[in-house]
Symmetry: D2
Subunit: 456 residues, 4 copies
C-alpha cells in the first residue's frame, strides 16, 4: 500500500479482486511456495531456519485450505495475497520473505500451469471411461444392423457397433489433444519475477523438478505473458465438446418416437411440468447445448489476449473464469455422457426394420453392374432411374419385375434379387474400416488394445 | 414423477438442475404467478377463495425470497418447482392449482422477459451516469488541446472535450440498443402452455397488462421457442462492452509514462506485489478485458439456439448463465468506468506539448495551398515533400527557411509561418462536428439536452 | 507519396490494398463525391466551373463502373484512390480538387453507411418474400394436424399452419432488426475529415439531404471511428441466420424417412455420387450451416474493434469483407429458404398419423381431472401413473379398461375416452395464440395484415 | 441425375455449388485419383489397361489444371465432378470407372487432409523465417536497454533482444501446433466410401503409402464425418494469429511519437489521403486486425460441426472457405511480419532514455533491503513509501537525501545510490531466463540451435 494514499473504491474492488474465483488455486499456490522456499534455502537466499518456519507455516495453510477452515478476509485481493497474509499471521514477519525472488506474475502463471496439467489428466480419465462405455456398448450390439445416414437420409446399413465406435475414435483424438495441452505446461514459469528475471541467483531447475515440470520457460517476459497452455486446453475442450454435441444430438434423435432407436433410462431423463406422458432426453440435450459455451470460452480468451503488449497485463486475470467454467462443464458432460449411454436400451426391432429399407441397397445394385463391366458412373445412372421408377410406381425395389428391370439394363438378373435380400449388403463392406462384421471386430480389438495401453 | 420409476442419477441431477442459478428469477416468478392466479380467478378457472389462498401463499413465498429465508431443498430442480413446492407447503393442496393452464416453458420465458426488461433499464441508468460523467469532464477540459490520432500516429490536434464526447455518442447509441432490447420483451409469453396453447379460455391480455407487457406473443410455439430478446440484450451489451474496451484501452495508453496524459486516482488503480513503484490502471485494463467475455456470451447463446427444432428444448436453459454473467459484468463495468473517469487528472502541460507538434499542421499547410488554387492532391504532395525534407534535415516545419520552402512551391509565404504558430489549426476546424471551440460547445449543448431529456 | 522514398513492398501491398474487395463500393463512392462536389460549390470552395467539370468526370466514372469498363490498375490501393485517379485522367488536374475538405476516413465511413442502408432494405425485401411464402403455405395447410414437439419428443398436436407461422414471427422480428440497422446509418459521417473536422465552412446538412441521411454525425472523431452500424447489421443477420438454421434443421428432420413429413422438390435437393437412391436436402442443410459463418463475422468485427484507440485505425478496413460475405450469404440463404419452402410437399397422412399418437392427449386427460376439482399437480401425477401403466402393459391409453382407470382415480369416466378420440385436443387449445383453428385463423389474418402494411 | 426429374433451381445451384472455391483442391484431387486408380488395378478391380487409360487421362487433367487451361463448365457442381467430367471427355467412358469403390465423401476428406498437411508445412516454413528474423534482430540489439512493461507501465528494464526473443518462443510453440495439425492428418480417409466402407476388397494401406499417409482411418463413418484436422489447423492458426496481433500491437505502440522506439521502413507503412505528414504502421495494424478473423473461422467451423449427426452432412462443405481464407490470411501475415520487422529501425537513444527512468529500480532497492534482512513484504512497503515521497516532492529517487531516506529505513546507504546509477539493475537479473546479458546470450544460443535443428 506504500505508494497509495487512498484505499480502493468498492466498485474497483469488486471489479479487480479475483479471490472469489482464484481461491480454487489455493493448494497449487501453497505447493509452489513450498518448492520456492526450499529452493531459496538451497540457494542460500533464506536461512535453513527461515525456510523451516515458512515450510511449517505453509503446511498449516495447506491444512486450513483442505479442511475448509481457511478464513478469507474482505481485503484479500487474490489467493496469493490471502495465503501470504495468513502465512504471516501464522509464522510471523518471516512470512514476508516468501515472496523474495518472485512476483505474482510468475506465481499465477505457475498455479495455472499446474492446474491445467491436472485437469488435462482429469479429462483424459473421463475420456477413457467414456471410450470404455462406447466399446462395451458396441460389443453388446456388435451385429445389430441399423441404417447409416448421410444428410440425415438413410444411406447404407451399418452395425450399431460400427456407428458407436465412430465416437470412440473422436474421443481417442481428444485424448491426444489433452496430452498436448498437458505438454504445453512442461516449462516452469516461476522464477521469471515480474517480467525480467530476479536479482538473485536462483535455481529454477530445482523448483521445476520439485513441481513435476520438465524444464523452465526460456524467457522471463514470455513466462509471465503466456497463456497458450490455457488456450491449448480450451481448444481441446472445444473440439471434445463438439464431439459430445454430436453424440447428444444423435441420442436426442434416436430417442424420438419417429426414430425410436433407443430409450434412455429414467435416471438420465426428466418429465414435463404439464405433459404427464413426457420423458425428455435432457442429458443428451445438455451435452449438445454446452458445446457453444466451451467454444466461447476459447474464443473469449483469445479475445482477451488479442493485441496485448508484453508482458503481464491485468486482462490476463480473465483466464481463470473461462478455464474454470470449462473444466467444470467438460468434466460433468463427460461423466454424464458415460452415465447416460450406459442406461440406453436399443430397440433391435426398430433398428433392423429401418435398416431393411431396400433403397439402402442401391449402391450395391450399382456395384453389381460394375462387376459386370458397366462403368460406375453409368451404373449409378441406371440404378437412379430404377429408383425413380420404383418410387413413381410405389413399389419396393424387389417388387420390380424382370420386365421392368430389362428396361434399364440387360445385366439385372437373379443376383439383383439376391442383393436385395436383407443384410447381404452389410457384410459386403469388407474394405478396411468398413462395416462388415470381421472389420468391426478388428476395429473393436484395436479399441480395446488402446484402452488397455493408455494411461491418463 | 408419475411415469418415472427411478430417481435421477446424481450426475444427471448436477447437469440438469438449474436451481443454483435460476433462483435469481424467484421474485419474477412469484410476480407472474400472482398475475396468473388473478387471471385464473377472473376467468372462472379458480374460485375466488382458491385464488385468495394462492395469493396469500405467494405473498409469503415472496417475503421469504426477499428476506433470504426461503429454504431450497436438494431435490428442487428449478426455481419454478421450488416455489410451487413451497407454496403447497404453505397453502396446502390448493398450491397444486397454480400450475393450471400454464407450463414451465411459457413460465420461464416470461421470467426471462421480465428480467431482461428490468436489466435493460439498469443498463440505461448506468449508461446515463457514464454519459453524465463524460459530459462533465468534457466541460471541465473544454479548451485543453491534445493530439488527435489516427493509426495511433498524431494526426491533428483536438480538444480533450471533443475526444471525450466521442465516447458520449457511442454510449448514446448503446442507450438506444438497450431500449430496443427492452421493446423486444413487449409481448407476454405466458399462456402459451407447453407449446400449443392451453385447454382453457384464458385472458392473456389481462396478465400482460398486470405485468407491464404491451401485448401477448401471437403464436404459442414461438412464445416458448423464442429467446431473441435475450440475444438482443446480449448484442447490445456486446457492442457497449466493445465501446468500454476502447475507452479502457485509451486510459491505459494515456496512463503510460510515454503518453502521460492523465493520472488515475489511487482508488481505481493498484500496485505490484514486487515492484513498489507501480501504479497500474487495472480498472481500465479490465474494462478492456471484459469485452470478449460479453461478446462470447452472445456468440454462445446463438450457438445454443443454432439448428434447434421447435418448440422448447432443454438447451435453452443455457440462456440464463450467459445472460446473468453478462448483466453482472456489464453493470460492474459501467459503474467502474464512471467511477474511474471521475478520478482521472489530466496533465494539461503534457497534452498541450504533444498537441504542439508542428507536423500536425501539415493538413493545414496543404489547405493553405488549396486556398491559393492548388488542387488538393497536388498540395498534399508538396507538403509531403516538405515534411520529408524537414525530417531529413532534422528541422521543425517552422524552422524551414523561405528559400527551402520556395523549392517546393511559390505559394508559401508568411501565412505558412502563421499557420504553424501554435493552436491556429484547432480553431479552423469549423465544420459541423469539428473540433473548433464553438462546434464543441454546440455538441456539449446537445449532449446536455439529451441527458436531461432521456428517461432510463 | 510525398514523404515516402520507397515504394510499398509487394507483401505489404498484398496485405494493405483493399481494392480487390472495396471496389464493390464504387457506385456509392461516386455518388457521395457528386454530393460532396455540389456542396463544395454551394459553399464557394469550388467554382461552379470546377464543380461542373468534376460532376461530368464523375458521371463518366460512374458509367465505366456500371458497364464494367472501369480499369483498375495494379497500383490502385483502394476504391477511393482508384476513382480519384481515374477522375483526374478524365477531368485533368481539377480531379485533385475532389478530395478538398474530406479524408478517406470519413469517405469510407460514408460509403459503408450507404451500403448498409441499402442492404438492410435488401434483407427486408427478402424477409417479406419469405414471410409471404410461410403465410401461403400455412394457409394451404391450415387444418393439417401434426405433432408439436418439445425436446424433440411428441408433446401436443398442432396444425401445420401454426407451426409454420412460428417462423413467420421470428422473421417478423428480424424485419425490425434490419430497420434498426438502417436507422443506425441515419447520420452522415462525411465532412468529419480525417478526425477533427475540416478547415472549411462546409454544409454537411446539405450533403446529408442529397444522400438521404437524416442528419450529420455530431462528433468528427466518432464519425471516423464508428462502425456500430455495420455491427448492427451483422447482429441482425446473425439472429436471422440462426432462425434460418432452425428452419433448415426442421426441414432436414422432416425430410428424413423416419419423420417423412415432407418431400422437397428435385430443384432444391441433390443426389449422391455413389448412392443412386439418395435425394439429399442440401439446401436445408446449408441454411443450417451458414448461421455460424454469419455469427462469426459479427464476432470477428467486434474483435477487430476491440480496444482500438480513437480515431481511425487501419484495422477497421476489416469491416468490409466481414460485411460483404454476410450480405451475400444472408441474401442467398433468404432466397433459398423461400424457394425451397415453396417446393415442399407435406404428407398429410404421415403427419396425421403421428399426431394421432394418443399419448399426446395426456395433458388433456390431466385437465379433465382439473375440471373436476383435482389440483393440477395431483392430476398430473395420476395421469403420469396411467401412462406408465399403459407403457408397461403395452397398451394405448384408450385400451385401458374402466377397472384399470379406477385404480388411479374415481374421476375417469366416458369423457376420458371422448378426450382420446382423435382431434378433440387440438381444438381445445383456445387460448390466445393457441393452435385451435379459430386462433390460427386470427393469427394468419394478422400475418397477412403485416405483409400488406410493411414497406421494405 | 437418374432419380431426379427437375434440374437444380438457379438459387439452389448458387447456394450448393462449391466449384468456385473447391477448385483450389484440384491437384490434390487428381493426385488421389491416381493413387486410387493404381490401387484398383493392384486389387484387380480395374484391368491394367483401364488403369493406364485413366492414369494418362488424369495426367492430362493435371496438366490442364496446372496451366490454367482446365475449363470449368456452368454445370460443374464441385471439383470432383468437374474432374471426372473432364476425365471422361479425355479418356472416354472408362472415365466413369474412376469413382468405383469411393464416394465424394471420402474423396473430399482426403483432399482436405492433403491440403491441411501441406499448409501446416507452409505455416511452419514461414514461422521459421519469422523466428529467424527475430533472432537476427535480437542479436543486433543484444545489449540495447529498453523499459520492460507490465500493465503498460514501465516496470523493469530489459534488453531489446530479450523482449524480441519472447516472441521467438511464442512462434516456437506455434511451430509445434502446426506439427500437431499435420499429425492429425496422418490417417487416410479414402476407401471409406459414402460412410460404410465399400463393396470391394480394396487396399487402403497401399493408397495411404502412395499419398504419404501413415495409416488409414479406422472407422469408415468417422472417416467421412471428421474434420478435426481442419479444426486443429484453425486452432493453431488462431493462437498464432493472436501472437501476431500482440507483435503488431507493440509495433504500433513503438511507432507512435510518444514511444518513438522504432521507425518502420517506407515499404511497410503508408500515408494519409489528407494529412501529408502521416506515416502509418498499416502492416502492424493489420497483423493485429486479422487475428479475430482467423479465430472466428475456428469458431465458425466448430459451430458448423455442432450437433451434426453422423455421417457426412452437407454442412461440412463450409469447412473449405473457412480454411482457405485462414490459410491465405495467415501466410500473408507471417510474411508481412517478417518483412516488416526487417525494416524496423530502433532508436537507441529513445529506448535508453526511457529505460533510465529511475523508478524502474524500485524493486532493486527493495531487494537491497532484503539482502540486509528485511522481509521482502516489509521492504516493498518501505520503497513504496519512498516512491510516494519522491513523487510528492517531484524528485528523482537519486535526488533524495540521506536524511530523507533515513525517515524510511536505516538500511539505505551508499549502495542505494549505486543501485540507482543507470544500468546496474539490468545485469543483476541473473536468474535463468532473466534479462542479464549472459542469460540472453544463452537464450539466443538455444534459439539459434532450434532454427538449425528444425525442419518445416
Amino acid at each position: 500500500m506504500g505508494r497509495f494514499r487512498e484505499p480502493p473504491d468498492p466498485v474497483f474492488h469488486a471489479l479487480n479482486a479475483s479471490i472469489s474465483f482464484d481461491r480454487r488455486l489455493g493448494t497449487y499456490d501453497v505447493r509452489q511456495s513450498q518448492a520456492h522456499v526450499a529452493m531459496l534455502a538451497e540457494a542460500g537466499i533464506l536461512t535453513a531456519d527461515e525456510a523451516e518456519q515458512l515450510r511449517r507455516g505453509l503446511d498449516e495453510v495447506a491444512a486450513e485450505l483442505e479442511h475448509g477452515t481457511f478464513e478469507f478476509l474482505p481485503d484479500d485481493e487474490d489467493i496469493h495475497m490471502a495465503i501470504e497474509r495468513r502465512l504471516t499471521e501464522i509464522a510471523g514477519p518471516v512470512g514476508g520473505k516468501v515472496h523474495t525472488a518472485r512476483s505474482r506474475n510468475d506465481q499465477v502463471a505457475t498455479d495455472m500451469a499446474l492446474f491445467v496439467r491436472d485437469q488435462a489428466t482429469e479429462a483424459r480419465k473421463r475420456l477413457l471411461d467414456l471410450m470404455g462405455a462406447l466399446a462395451d456398448i458396441a460389443e453388446a450390439h456388435a451385429d445389430w444392423p441399423m441404417p447409416g445416414y448421410t444428410h440425415l437420409q438413410r444411406a447404407q446399413p451399418v452395425y450399431v457397433s460400427h456407428h458407436l465406435l465412430a465416437y470412440f475414435w473422436m474421443f481417442r483424438r481428444d485424448l491426444d489433444r489433452f496430452a498436448t495441452a498437458s505438454c504445453a505446461t512442461a516449462d516452469l514459469p516461476l522464477g521469471a519475477g515480474a517480467l525480467a528475471g530476479v536479482n538473485w541467483d536462483t535455481r529454477r531447475e530445482s523448483v521445476a523438478r520439485a513441481l513435476g515440470f520438465d524444464g523452465v520457460v526460456e524467457n522471463s517476459l514470455d513466462a509471465v505473458s503466456n497463456r497458450d497452455f490455457v488456450l491449448d486446453y480450451l481448444s481441446a475442450a472445444s473440439i471434445c465438446s463438439m464431439h459430445l454435441s454430436r453424440l447428444g444430438a444423435e441420442i436426442v434423435l434416436w430417442s424420438s418416437e419417429e426414430f425410436g432407436f433407443l430409450a434412455l433410462g429414467d435416471s438420465f431423463t426428466s418429465g414435463s411440468s404439464i405433459m404427464p406422458q413426457k420423458k425428455n432426453p435432457d442429458a443428451a440435450e445438455l451435452l449438445r447445448a454446452k458445446a457453444p459455451r466451451v467454444a466461447s470460452h476459447f474464443n473469449a480468451l483469445l479475445g482477451v489476449m488479442h493485441a496485448l503488449p508484453l508482458a503481464y497485463n491485468k486482462d490476463m486475470q480473465e483466464d481463470k473464469e473461462h478455464l474454470f467454467d470449462t473444466v467444470d462443464t467438460l468434466n460433468l458432460c463427460l461423466d454424464a455422457a458415460t452415465g447416460m449411454l450406459r442406461t440406453a436400451k436399443f430397440d433391435r426391432e426398430r433398428l433392423a426394420g429401418a435398416a431393411a429399407d431396400e433403397f439402402l441397397a442401391a449402391t450395391d445394385i450399382a456395384d453389381l453392374l460394375v462387376r459386370r463391366g458397366v462403368p460406375f458412373r453409368e451404373s449409378h445412372a441406371i440404378v437412379g432411374g430404377i429408383v425413380r421408377h420404383a418410387l413413381e410406381h410405389d413399389k419396393q425395389l424387389s417388387e420390380l419385375t424382370r420386365e421392368e428391370l430389362a428396361g434399364f439394363s440387360d445385366n439385372l438378373d437373379d443376383e439383383y434379387y439376391a442383393v436385395l435380400s436383407n443384410g447381404s449388403w452389410l457384410e459386403s463392406k469388407v474394405s478396411e474400416g468398413g462395416t462388415a462384421s470381421a472389420r468391426v471386430g478388428e476395429q473393436l480389438g484395436r479399441a480395446r488394445a488402446i484402452l488397455e495401453g493408455v494411461q491418463p
